[in-house]
Symmetry: C3
Subunit: 676 residues, 3 copies
């Protein structure tokens, strides 16, 4: 359970009392109660209100808001307001403003506009965090600190450039080493003085190619990303420490954004007390993609409970088409995150603002200004559902035999510089294999490369582009000891310095897989090519690898293209384990049948008799061996699911099921295993 | 009639004698005469010629050109040359150059490149206007002043920023008031010092979203647009005053551009003696869209005659595909503007330039350099036609029982910041209802919100997004006194500060319409949804409103989507009048049938038995009750039109028609009612 | 034969020993030998290695590499490294960095980032060239100097602006003349002081329109291009002179890029000893387009042998989809360049780099790091083929009766400023007629306007937009003396100052063609229009010209559109010759049949009985009248070719053919005429 004070789900949302009069705020809190809510986040953007100049702090607004919240019986998630520095501050210290990738400094206005390496910004943000912690250290309802908001902003200013050079000095120690790792002799880029190093921007290294910003120097951009990731994380840590000084026992979080490319959240998780995140699925967005985000956040939290810090109860504002959410969609989305470990569900936002950028963003209480709306009704129902669950599913964990590797470093390295195919996407590769597992009913953890592999019977590593010596060794010993490891196209291509491995890709693991990969052919989506796998023809897309088999068994071969009749899918027994390789970018259909083959061949446990599409089943287990199934139908058709043995009772309706169940369109069941 | 000296149509175009030798100019004038022309515009871009440095003016070129024009018997529309400041000027005073929305200052070169708030620019432009007026005060052929050219340029420089702050001080008086109206507490944007205010640019508030530039701060961008509109208008007014000092009796205009988003022409019209405008319909552009532009310019002129200052006799240059115009297309376009009140028709340009940006722009006299061209022939025919009309249709006015509201403030507020649907377009909504009226043969005025509503039997207000208290009161009392008012989706959403109305959209007029609008669902064009209206199913697009009926009668309901079976189209009797509401973005077909229903139910007068598509009929009436019909067939097929009663005679051919007539493809008839 | 030391083909590629240890380099050279290679390019990007600060040169790396190369028996093409200035240099002298068209200065990093007018850059580049020449003047294997790399970079900095003004002073002498030629009175752009002249950038004159950057001032941009072309050429010349000082007998080249718009290579050719170029055909790219590039490079070399300086043995890196090349594609591409006169074929690159921008660019030796790869095998086969040819086809020349005019000035002038149709493309017009000739088996030279026309029986001048008095005279006298001249749509529109000709396009040659062209109609690709030519209907596209016939015979008329029944294709006998005009942008089909008509009517010599599509045949002749046919099938189907008379023997296989032959898919034959 989340390290917070209450034994039950947290249900609530973000309040902005600064936008409203006190009566409105109080009435909103009563309506929140009516919707079974118990927690409110406040303070996210209050900096300009509580600090009006460099030395004047005035917390009266917060004092009063917190007093009312306490009086109304709410628990409080208190935010540091550092995501949007006040206008007076950026006017006085313009260096706080970030410079964009084109080299243009921002002008005052907006949010997430600060330079993460600005000393002034850091000084001010630490000070406000400290002030808040000191002032509210004894505030009873305080259960969680919410630092900043959706950290995201890379910066390209001179301060960052200077700090980047220091970061590089620390990392490489000598210019010789740097030149070697950056491969500087290519295009005459040798560096003789640390001051010669520039940040990568569109004025030197970066180019927009199709929908991607890519670097003509892969090494420097990878290091820049690492540096920026750490720079932003340092901002978080500095506030974290300031808060802990006064409130050592209040957990601290910041709201993450799941498959958000700029930040490697595995690194962030090490510094956070609790993982919280914001979920804004698109209307009709493929549920598997959403599930991957839920599972990734669970993986980042290493299985521990998480907080759903933000979701919209209805529509968003920043999309081109901001669909409303039906009550059933809201329920599905909410329970999907709970299935993956959320023990708190908060909305952005409680009350729709009258002005500002997000005046059309959905809220629990809309411009209609009543508790009689469609949206309010939907939100209230979720609150009632949560009550029925809380003494059961809290404290349970997903148990999974299979893991999918997720690696920000590979994501960056693969996509951030020109490669064979501009359309080839890391996220799509991961999604494809994750989907193939999900539809079979396999429990899947999404893990980082530092996770202990031995916990899993099988590991899928889609396009693990970057493989260091160390990761290579881990994979080798995992397979050696009996693991099933699946590598796919464009894996093991570069080392941790983003330099190509020589001698056939898959690097130092060629013997593990029994193959060497000689080259990759690339082609557009419009070009149809096929492989033959276990007697059936399948489409492959975008990338094909030319495989030289040294020892492996060939399971699939190309039927056409430049590599017609060459191997495409191979299998090798190594030590006690098994190493599979898929050399091409598989179509979903090929992925599905390939994964099904592995699941069936190796007897991987499933929670239903698959495959079933459109349905997600998540199995959770308590320490005392109670077992739960979250069964969610994302389809607009009825779906039948054949459960693996036993009798199950739905916690919401009380109905029981033997073996098989039928889900209504968009239906959700939360089943508890009943002993027979 | 336009307040100009001659009792007849003005026909002519823009001459640039500065580009040619005198003989060529003289021969051109003779050819213009041959084409029945009587007026020439000159001086539009002559600044660098008549003023070669800060203190040296040399008008000899203009003197000579005007002398020739007078000698050849032409009336003259004389332009101030302030749309393109000379290179010496912008080099000496670079602050004259404008800064673009990305924060980049322009370099010297081109036109419409000045900062409207530059004191130097204003000083120079007033001085040249004054010099011209002083010098040519007694020039007999001078009938019209043409100030600048197509005002359009917003600026984002520091001068503008400073002036914007002053403008805001004047408007809001206190920062408290400003903060409240700008909703500054959203995202911590509270302003403690006027100097903290920045212009909205892409470096702080503005983002390109799909094909729109949108602001993350709706209030500031709305005020910026108002400020820029006024800044440019001030430039016009300053020149206006300078001209009036010496030539108080010569009317002054500047050429507008109809549905041009950056400028609220209703405001401009208050300061102009005559409305003139430029019309550049696309090849094959829907005639209703063009008609709306004509009608808007007529509305801006409050029904008074206008000048068609520019049209191309053949092709444009700035389009991707610059089609030539056939003789019949030229005739249709010309008579459409005349039908809507133009009493002058001028071409840009008389002679095609050899160089410069527009060397391929069409002209009456082309590079072929003869009066024997296809284009010249077409232009000459129009001149002959105009002669046949002038003693009849001049001094007549369109009479209309119905008005369509057009509101720049709503246009800006709706589209300039993130809303539920990026594709939802103000102009399309207006066009749709305008089209539905036109095809029924209804006479329609296009009016601003300040117009006297009581003149109209019915008013259509498509997406009147911004409704102030005052406009709300006007609508209420209009309906109360018997008016028919039609509001459509996303109307009455914000007040004049661009802040959302609370309590259900349609604001303070909920009782008038008998409904409250709770929320809007948004979806892409590709998503098909339907409503049932009077027993028939229709498509709706992009936006659906959720309507809570308090008193209204439901005429249409959603057939599918999130709001299936909820009301979509309602009708309410209020006081003596009727208030209709269409909650969704209707397909044209729904619009058509809905409007037809209203026309028929309320017995709105029409000029033919509709509906007819592809044909436009405009009815004009003289003070002594003569009646004219401009009947124009924009279709490539023959069209039959059933006139409402009576006998009509075509002014061009002399043919008479009873009740019914058949129009040839692209045919034009100008009918006079014949007493029987 | 190229003026190099060896009597045989050069075969090899670019080596970058600076990226590898010595053993690897040596092994690579041995593998190159195995692939029948004899030449290596080195030094292209070694500047930062050999010069580490302003005064320190250290050539030890080059010394050693050259020593090894000599030891291994390779000839050497030595590059000056000036395409990528070292980081220390641009840091110390930031003015070396170029400013882009948006006015932004580059930051350090990357290549081709220098300002061509920077004195510092020129000083440094001359000095390094001189040092290299001095040091290696006696290096025996040195056979070719390779200056810089793919010159391409326009610059928009203040230095360039200043130099541009000087260039203009030289050209126009007086401001009066400049103002006249620049047509400055249009839009008030008159210049009173040379300092008022700005470079054209996106901040004044340039706009992105669809996929083109266009100038609102055609004259200034044309002059800017001429100036930049000369500026870059000066950089080349300065290095050329430095090299010649010490090695007067070693030929000097720089690698061109064929149909590369920014540089007028006809001008460059005058300053180069040997033409060399880089060929990167797209996968599946139309072979005729590639052939045009080959033929253009041959034309630029005025028929003399050229060097294929770069091609990829497999994939590229900078495309969106970097297809691998099959062995047959590599063979086709290589022999196509040889057919057009290449006597050297080099690869970029010999060894694939581990890092840097191009780590995924193909190489003879790939990351797989063996000589056992698919690619290595293909490269080796080409080497073997070349050996079989070299004593035969070297020293032969293409002989052609027909020429296609290629004119950079027309290309710029047509596309660089707004014209009637944004999609109308110079290159496509040239390609279309070139293709029509090729498929008939006509030998075609691609020549510049300064070439001696009298060598050709017929000249096709697709869209010769710019025609000066002088070129007009040349065309006139060519036709007068019996030449066949074909002009097409939008020819003869402007003079050399980019000012429109008056009096009907085709300028002063109206009597030669017997027509005047009055105007051009423009329409998008989606609009289908047709002409009737010799009894058959054909599509035309984008542009139609309105032709006034004065004397010509009408061969084709428009069937529809604005010009229905007006002439479109005409023919005029003038003096001893014939002048054809095609007023519309023809479809390929019309082009084909029109060209076929001319070929047949005028008995133009062909090398087979055409037409045949998908096959290219190039005929070469030696001084002693041996005759060769390169017969290449780019199709994936078998093709039959009916040779014109005689017996032919394939140099590769030894097979002989009478009259007819059948080519395998992607097959290549190199036939020698056998006397019977």
């Amino acid at each position: 359970m989340i390290d917070m004070k209450r034994n039950g789900f947290w249900y609530g949302g973000e309040c902005y009392p600064e936008q409203w009069d006190e009566d409105t705020f109080k009435r909103d809190l009563r309506w929140m109660r009516e919707a079974n809510m118990n927690i409110a986040t406040i303070g996210v953007f209050c900096w300009a209100i509580v600090q009006k100049d460099e030395s004047t702090y005035d917390f009266s607004f917060l004092d009063r808001a917190l007093e009312i919240l306490e009086h109304e019986g709410f628990y409080v998630c208190l935010a540091t307001p550092t995501a949007a520095p006040p206008l007076w501050m950026v006017r006085k210290y313009p260096e706080i403003l970030s410079v964009d990738v084109n080299g243009h400094m921002r002008k005052p206005g907006g949010r997430a506009n600060f330079c993460p390496n600005s000393e002034k910004y850091r000084e001010f943000s630490v000070r406000i965090a400290e002030k808040l912690a000191e002032r509210y250290r004894d505030y009873r309802p305080l259960v969680l600190w919410h630092v900043n908001n959706e950290y995201s902003n890379y910066c390209y200013c001179e301060t960052c450039e200077r700090k980047f050079r220091e970061w590089l000095k620390n990392k490489y120690a000598s210019l010789d080493e740097l030149n070697k790792k950056w491969y500087s002799d290519f295009w005459s880029q040798r560096i003789y003085d640390w001051e010669e190093i520039s940040l990568p921007t569109t004025r030197n290294f970066l180019l927009f190619r199709k929908d991607r910003l890519q670097s003509i120097n892969p090494a420097i951009y990878q290091d820049y990303r690492r540096f920026m990731n750490e720079s932003l994380l340092e901002c978080f840590e500095l506030e974290y420490q300031a808060l802990k000084k006064y409130t050592p026992n209040v957990p601290v979080t910041t709201n993450l954004m799941a498959t958000f490319k700029p930040l490697d959240y595995f690194l962030w998780a090490k510094k956070m007390d609790v993982i919280s995140w914001d979920s804004y699925p698109d209307y009709g967005e493929d549920h598997v993609r959403v599930s991957l985000r839920c599972a990734l956040m669970r993986g980042v939290a290493r299985g521990k409970p998480v907080v759903l810090m933000e979701q919209s109860p209805s529509q968003a504002i920043w999309k081109w088409y901001n669909h409303q959410k039906s009550a059933s969609a809201l329920k599905l989305h909410t329970f999907q995150t709970i299935a993956h470990g959320a023990e708190a569900a908060l909305y952005f936002q409680i009350r729709q603002s009258k002005g500002g950028c997000e005046r059309f963003h959905g809220a629990v209480i809309t411009h209609a200004n009543t508790n009689g709306t469609r949206v309010f009704e939907a939100v209230k129902c979720i609150g009632e559902d949560l009550k029925k669950l809380e003494d059961r599913v809290l404290n349970t964990r997903v148990d999974a035999q299979v893991a999918v590797l997720f690696d920000w470093e590979s994501w960056w390295a693969l996509e951030d510089s020109p490669g064979p195919n501009i359309d080839f996407s890391y996220l799509q590769e991961v999604e494809k294999y994750y989907r193939a597992l999900l539809r079979m009913g396999v429990g899947v953890d999404v893990i980082g490369v530092e996770e202990d592999f031995s916990k899993y019977k099988a590991i899928f590593a889609p396009t693990l582009f970057m493989v260091s010596d160390e990761i290579g060794r881990d994979i080798r010993s995992y397979v050696e000891s009996g693991g099933i490891f699946v590598a796919t196209t464009m894996s093991g291509v570069v080392d941790e310095n983003n330099l190509a491995w020589l001698g056939g890709y898959l690097a130092s693991m060629n013997d593990v897989f029994g193959v060497r990969v000689e080259e990759f052919d690339a082609f557009p989506l419009s070009e149809e090519r096929t492989v033959l796998f276990l007697g059936k023809k399948y489409l492959v897309k975008l990338i094909e690898g030319l495989v030289r088999v040294e020892k492996a068994f060939v399971m699939g071969t190309y039927s056409d293209g430049l590599y017609a009749n060459e191997p495409c899918i191979t299998f090798n027994q190594y030590g006690e384990g098994f190493a599979y390789y898929v050399a091409a970018c598989a179509s979903q259909e090929l992925c599905n049948d390939f994964v099904r083959y592995i699941v069936e061949r190796h007897g991987i446990e499933t929670s239903f008799s698959g495959p079933v599409d459109g349905v997600e089943v998540v199995r959770r287990r308590s320490k005392d061996s109670r077992m739960y199934l979250f069964v969610m139908n994302f389809d607009s058709k009825r779906k039948q699911v054949l459960l693996k043995e036993g009798k199950w009772r739905d916690l919401m309706s009380g109905r029981t099921f033997f073996d098989s169940l039928v889900l209504e369109p968009h239906g959700v069941l939360i089943l508890e295993k009943v002993d027979i």
